[in-house]
């Protein structure tokens, strides 16, 4: 195996002898050049150099090393620069160590459980900068799965310097409003639109108004022998239901009126320092207009110009039409959020009432929903 090469120059008489000696010993000579009749320059495998040197000494020739490459060169280089080599080794070791540490923890799809996931990770000594090579991923995954029962599936994966925790939240079991006898009761007040019974006996009919908590499907069925037997009621009862929300909007607003006094302040700043020859603004209440200009070419050096305009705050009555639009929009939005934004609105209306200091809007939204759920 060739570990490196040595280029040497040898001076003396009858140097052909050297070449023949190499031929006899199976030494491969490369790039043999004869600069002068009394010298030869050639390249050989570094492991053959001692043979050549010994032969040159016996013949009384002068031999000099020109260039060394490969492993012998590295060996010589390292021997002369111990501190540098030690530094490189330490650097590589640190780089390897840093490359195996966890520098980012990504938690995906945990939703409200994210805090708990972080807590479990903390309890398992998982933090930024932890050495991740000896980390038992499976153990961590099991710890997460056992602790967080709200998650139906958890996967933990170490991807380079990142620890990825991917969660799938469990779907809560559908809750039936059943009482202790197995009857289904109404989840909300409403007017019945349709009834579909799988188990039990319907207690309501189309158009009937029901109150929250009223039995709508009774958990009993008539058997073949005309006897009533208890069952757990199941079914779907669609009813018109209403959600309301109210919003009060004040009829005054605070506006700023300029006094005519202005003050300009110029500041030079970068992420590390900030300098301004102007003193800070002395206005009590002001509007501020800021413009920033990069003046440092590629360097992060900026010039910020702030124009302060002194103002006074004054209350002003608002237009009633604007108040109605604003309050109704907010009330409708709030009512829809309470009902669930995915539900389709059947009907909606808003009632206004004037108050001393504002306007109150009460929005009511009508939906068609299953109150037996």
């Amino acid at each position: 195996m060739r570990t490196g090469s040595v280029r040497f120059i040898i001076e003396g008489l009858s140097l052909e002898k050297l070449m023949n000696h190499c031929v006899t010993h199976g030494i491969m000579l490369e790039s043999v050049v004869r600069p002068t009749p009394r010298s030869i320059c050639a390249t050989i495998n570094s492991r053959d150099y001692p043979i050549i040197r010994e032969f040159a000494q016996t013949q009384g020739w002068k031999i000099q090393i020109g260039k060394i490459t490969g492993l012998p060169y590295l060996k010589m280089f390292a021997w002369r620069r111990t501190a540098l080599v030690c530094g490189v080794i330490v650097f590589l070791a640190l780089a390897w160590y840093a490359g195996n540490c966890i520098w980012k923890i990504e938690i995906t799809n945990a939703g409200p459980y994210e805090g708990e996931v972080r807590q479990v990770l903390k309890e398992n000594d998982i933090h930024i900068g932890r050495f991740g090579l000896l980390l038992n991923i499976e153990e961590l995954r099991l710890a997460l799965e056992n602790r967080l029962t709200g998650l139906s599936w958890v996967s933990v994966d170490k991807d380079g310097m990142r620890l990825k925790v991917y969660c799938v939240q469990g779907t809560p079991e559908s809750t039936s409003y059943t009482n202790e006898y197995g009857d289904i009761v109404a989840a909300r007040d409403g007017i019945i639109q349709s009834v579909r019974v799988s188990h039990g006996t319907s207690q309501v009919k189309y158009g009937e108004a029901v109150k929250k908590g009223q039995v709508i499907i009774k958990g009993e069925e008539r058997a073949w022998n005309n006897e009533m037997k208890r069952v757990t009621a199941q079914g779907e009862v669609l009813a018109r239901v209403w959600y309301s929300a109210e919003v009060i909007v004040p009829n005054t607003e605070i506006v700023t009126v300029p006094t005519g006094e202005t003050y300009t302040r110029t500041t030079f700043y970068s992420p590390w320092f900030e300098y301004s020859k102007d003193s800070p603004c002395s206005f009590g209440t002001y509007d501020r207009d800021v413009t920033a200009l990069q003046i440092g070419a590629i360097l992060p050096l900026y010039m910020r110009t702030e124009v302060f305009e002194e103002v006074t705050e004054e209350p002003r009555l608002r237009n009633e039409a604007d108040l109605r639009i604003e309050s109704s929009t907010a009330a409708l939005r709030l009512a829809h959020e309470t009902a669930g934004l995915n539900k389709a609105i059947v009907d909606k209306w808003v009632e206004y009432s004037m108050m001393e200091d504002g306007i109150k809007a009460v929005a009511t939204l009508e939906f068609l929903e299953n109150i037996a759920e």
């Binding site: 140097l15 052909e16 070449m19 190499c22 031929v23 491969m28 000579l29 043999v32 004869r34």
Partner: protein, 95 residues
């Protein structure tokens, strides 16, 4: 001795076998006049940039030219570069 060698050469020629393999004769490959490869040499007798004399099994091989240099020289083979003007044998062994 010479008659055995002569007979071997004749047999090799009749059988169509390569003499360089059977008898260790030099095998020269010349590419244009700039590169030469020689196999089955027995050593070097003279090496200058104008002339290289090599020992072979059938005599001394002389390569003349200018800017001659040996690129590689192994136990049996040799590769040269430079401007090669002439190749000749100095003393032929009697076959």
């Amino acid at each position: 001795m010479f008659s055995i060698r002569k007979k071997t050469i004749r047999s090799a020629q009749q059988l169509g076998l390569p003499e360089d393999v059977l008898l260790g004769m030099p095998r020269i490959v010349l590419r244009g006049n700039t590169s030469l490869t020689l196999e089955n040499h027995k050593g070097i007798l003279e090496y200058t940039d104008k002339r290289v004399r090599l020992r072979t099994s059938i005599g001394t091989l002389i390569i003349s030219g200018s800017a001659l240099n040996i690129v590689k020289m192994g136990r049996n083979d040799l590769m040269m570069r430079g401007r090669i003007d002439e190749i000749s044998y100095e003393t032929f062994k009697k076959l």
